[in-house]
């Protein structure tokens, strides 16, 4: 007991010594480091995340072995559902870190005060086009493109030329072929809606006057709306293996390589699905420390870890997204089968923040009437 008390006192002394400039600096700072990591030892950082989250167990174990911090991931539904939970529990968070809030929902979370500001010392290593996003509050971890995926085999079998542009989806030839996620409940669904708005807003370059007319057109062409991505891709999509009957689905540009990785038995030479590049909306995913966490320091270490080379290299094949860290090597299937759109559809964050709820309401009234 006495020894323990002495040890604490020594550590405290070392800490004070560290803050005053003196000659024993090196030695004291080593002591401070060990005491700080002692505090993090046995910490369990809880990470609130969406259901699509995945990371190799070995990567997680290495982090725990290295830092003593255990990480527990808590899936909280779709990204939208997860962010809403975080907003409804501001000040009394259900976890320490939130991973997976994307550009479409970021402003909602930030304005509600979900995050405690933090800038990772490693933020300089991120890809330049992502580096200016979420500055000071959240950190970009990965990005991807939400695109319409096309079941090429179905189109070949039926002797129909697949659509190449958003405009063509209004063609009666493609009636009843598309399944889309509800933007009110699904993150890719919202991304796709924002993409169509970016394209067909007043002053856009589409054939219809506004995005509202465009969606009325999709509705009249019998678009199917489901609540979440899994249901859309695995249940309704012909190429998802669930016996669906819709050969067009809103999914990700990385879904085709996923098909090869997850194939049962011998993987096919090339995917049977492809992406419609004209429809792609860029989505960046962020992580941040939740305000009100009682272990902010350990939570910050987890943010640093999420953009470390090891996690970033694991991200493509575990979640089928692109790493945010520059110079991260990409797996072969990505290089071979994923095309990133030259000019993805995008909307400025402040426009999304101001209009999103109204857009969703309008969309609901047009499509789900």
């Amino acid at each position: 007991m006495r020894i323990f008390t002495l040890g604490v006192a020594a550590a405290a002394l070392a800490l004070t010594a560290c803050s005053s400039p003196n000659t024993t600096g090196a030695q004291s700072s080593a002591a401070a480091d060990s005491s700080s990591s002692a505090a993090l030892q046995n910490a369990t950082v809880r990470v609130l995340t969406h259901d699509s989250f995945a990371l190799s167990q070995s990567v997680i174990d290495d982090f725990t072995a290295e830092t003593g911090i255990a990480v527990e991931f808590i899936p909280a539904g779709d990204a939208g559902e997860m962010v809403n939970r975080a907003v409804l529990s501001v000040g009394a968070p259900e976890a320490d870190v939130l991973y997976g809030v994307d550009t479409t929902l970021l402003t909602r979370a930030v304005e509600a005060g979900v995050f405690a500001p933090y800038t990772s010392p490693d933020a300089g290593a991120l890809r330049p086009e992502l580096a200016n996003l979420g500055v000071g509050v959240v950190t970009p971890i990965d990005d991807g493109d939400v695109c319409i995926n096309v079941d090429d085999v179905w189109f070949a079998d039926n002797g129909i030329v697949p659509p190449a542009t958003l405009d063509e989806l209004l063609d009666p030839a493609y009636r009843g072929l598309l399944v889309v996620e509800n933007p009110a409940t699904s993150s890719p669904g919202l991304a796709f809606l924002l993409g169509t708005i970016a394209r067909y807003r007043e002053g856009g370059d589409g054939v219809t006057e506004s995005w509202i007319d465009y969606w009325a057109g999709l509705r009249d062409n019998d678009v199917l709306i489901v609540n979440g991505w899994s249901e859309a891709y695995y249940t309704e999509f012909t190429g998802g293996g669930g016996g669906g009957d819709r050969p067009l689905v809103v999914s990700y540009s990385t879904s085709p390589p996923a098909e090869i990785i997850y194939a049962e038995g011998t993987p096919p030479d090339r995917p049977s699905t492809s992406t419609m590049l004209d429809s792609c909306y860029r989505q960046v995913e962020f992580a941040g420390v939740l305000a009100g966490s009682d272990q902010p320091e350990a939570a910050q270490r987890v943010i640093d870890w999420l953009i470390s080379p090891q996690v970033q290299a694991d991200v493509p094949l575990s979640m089928f997204v692109f790493p945010a860290r520059a110079d991260t090597p990409l797996p072969d299937v990505f290089a071979e089968f994923v095309t990133r759109p030259q000019v993805p559809l995008e909307l400025p964050a402040d426009v999304i923040a101001a209009q999103r709820d109204r857009w969703i309401e309008e969309w609901t009234q047009i499509v789900l009437r």
Binding site: R85, A92, G242, I360
Partner: protein, 526 residues
């Protein structure tokens, strides 16, 4: 005498104030957030009226269906001597107390058309047919058979006798059953969420999606208010109607009026009871069968899976732990509900004249629906003065407020019917007031309280509407976990959900059969 009454009222005032605050606070929060200029855009939106229209439509269909299917069975069970009558009645009534998400899941797996209005209506009929039979039958059984005999002797055929004599006499009971079923199906949540078409929400589902998925708390509160107004209007209209429909008549003893089925119609009605009971049992049995169906045949794999958590998925919380948590919460909720219920009942009885008003206040959660209770408690924490988020008591409190009307409904008629002379006799024998009360009413009050507690426990165990708003991510209850699992693709998720639903079903049935066993036979009520 007057001073005693005043003292009684004062004595009752303080705990009653506590009950009133607890019951009214969530509702007050909904009013505070939903009442104002922000309500206008919601009220004028066509989508809002579409939701209201659809809610009414499915509730009307469900009510008509429940009553139509209940009538012949009520006739057979209350007018005829049907062998095994108590068993048939028990089977037909069980669904009413089953957890809504369990029933939703059972029909989702059983019906060839899940995700449709028809599926919702079928599940609603399943829930309410037993209740309708009991409400209609309890009057039918007491109708004086001589009135119908007079009709027959005047040369009316059985159909005309039924239409001209029996039906008008039954009207009060039919309208009472109709209004109950209408209320339950209008505010039904778990079933519609699990079984309905996501593009066709009811008011309850829309309140939930607005609040929890679109973060539109104001819109949710406005809809909750709209629903409250509609429900209140329906109750007022029904009470006016029941006054008009009321027929002054001498009621007979139901044991005496029942006779053995003779005519072909009577035999068909008896057979119908059996068919209906089987139809009600099928979804419950099919759920059990479904939970044993695994990918390569039959077995207990989903139950084994329910015991162990699967990291990194929705199943990272083991299904069994959610069941234990549900039991803990239900226990706490029962204590709260019984505590509040006893105070409220005592208050209603003490302040007899103002009792009607108080009666109404305590019944409020039933009228405003579980979802509104949940939304109100959430608003209290997010927008209001009292932050209960993260407190273990929050979920049980919501469940207790939902269960409170049932506790009062069980306690009130029993205590109301106790004979004051019993107490006077005890007093003349030298007992003090408390002892006199205990001697006269203690045993029956204790039994009624136990029954109320059992019903509160059963309701809390399966409660989903309020809980869905209040539960923390890391500590889901069993019904919440079932719905979460159903939202994820994959055979394992549905398999574990069915196993969990079967366990929840068994627990509920056990609790309710205990309640039925200890239920005092006098006093009536539900």
């Amino acid at each position: 005498m007057t001073s005693t009454t005043t003292r009684h009222t004062l004595w009752a005032a303080l705990p009653l104030a506590l009950v009133a605050v607890l019951v009214l606070l969530p509702v007050a929060m909904v009013v505070a957030v939903g009442w104002g200029p922000d309500a206008l855009p919601v009220l004028t939106a066509p989508s809002t009226w579409r939701v209201i229209g659809y809610t009414t439509f499915q509730a009307a269909l469900s009510t008509i269906g429940s009553l139509a299917l209940a009538m012949p069975a009520a006739y057979a069970l209350y007018r005829l001597r049907v062998p095994g009558r108590r068993m048939w009645l028990a089977i037909l009534t069980i669904p009413f107390i089953l957890p809504t998400v369990v029933v939703g899941l059972a029909f989702r797996e059983l019906l060839p058309f899940p995700g449709t209005t028809a599926a919702i209506v079928v599940a609603h009929i399943f829930f309410n047919v037993g209740l309708s039979i009991r409400v209609i039958g309890s009057l039918w059984g007491h109708l004086d058979p001589r009135l119908e005999q007079v009709g027959a002797s005047l040369g009316l055929n059985p159909f005309t006798t039924f239409r001209r004599i029996t039906l008008p006499l039954l009207a009060p009971a039919i309208s009472a059953a109709a209004i109950l079923v209408l209320l339950f199906t209008f505010t039904s949540f778990g079933v519609v969420l699990v079984l309905g078409d996501p593009a066709l929400p009811t008011i309850e589902v829309d309140i939930y999606t607005r609040a929890m998925q679109r973060l539109d708390l104001t819109g949710a509160a406005v809809l909750a208010l709209v629903q409250f107004v509609i429900v209140a209007a329906a109750i007022v209209v029904s009470s006016i109607m029941s006054d008009r429909l009321a027929v002054r008549q001498r009621l007979g003893d139901d044991e005496m009026t029942r006779r053995l089925p003779q005519s072909p119609i009577e035999r068909v009605a008896t057979g119908y009871v059996v068919v209906l009971a089987v139809a009600v049992a099928v979804p419950m049995l099919s759920l059990v069968v479904r939970s044993l169906r695994v990918s390569d045949g039959w077995g207990f794999a989903w139950y084994a899976e329910a015991v162990s958590p699967t990291e990194g998925t929705t199943r990272s919380v083991s299904a069994l732990s959610t069941l234990t948590r549900s039991l803990e919460y239900a226990g706490l909720a029962t204590v709260i509900a019984v505590f509040l219920g006893v105070i409220a009942t005592a208050g209603i009885l003490a302040a007899r004249r103002r009792g009607r008003w108080l009666d109404g206040a305590v019944m409020l959660p039933l009228g405003v629906s579980a979802v509104t209770v949940g939304l109100g408690l959430l608003l209290l924490s997010v927008r209001g003065p009292i932050d209960l988020r993260g407190w273990t008591v929050l979920v049980p409190l919501g469940q207790a407020l939902v269960a409170l009307p049932i506790v009062v409904r069980v306690l009130l008629p029993v205590l109301r019917s106790t004979d004051p002379r019993m107490r006077q006799v005890a007093a003349t024998l030298g007992a003090g007031p408390l002892r006199a009360w205990w001697a006269a009413e203690g045993p029956i009050a204790a039994r009624a309280t136990a029954v109320g507690a059992a019903f509160a426990a059963a309701v809390s165990l399966g409660e989903f509407g309020a809980t869905a708003f209040l539960v923390r991510l890391e500590t889901p209850t069993a019904p919440v976990q079932i719905v979460r699992l159903l939202g994820r693709p994959g055979e394992a998720n549905i398999g574990v959900a069915t196993a969990l639903a079967v366990l929840l079903l068994l627990l509920t049935v056990i609790i309710v059969s205990v309640a039925e066993r200890i239920r005092p036979r006098r006093g009536g009520g539900w």
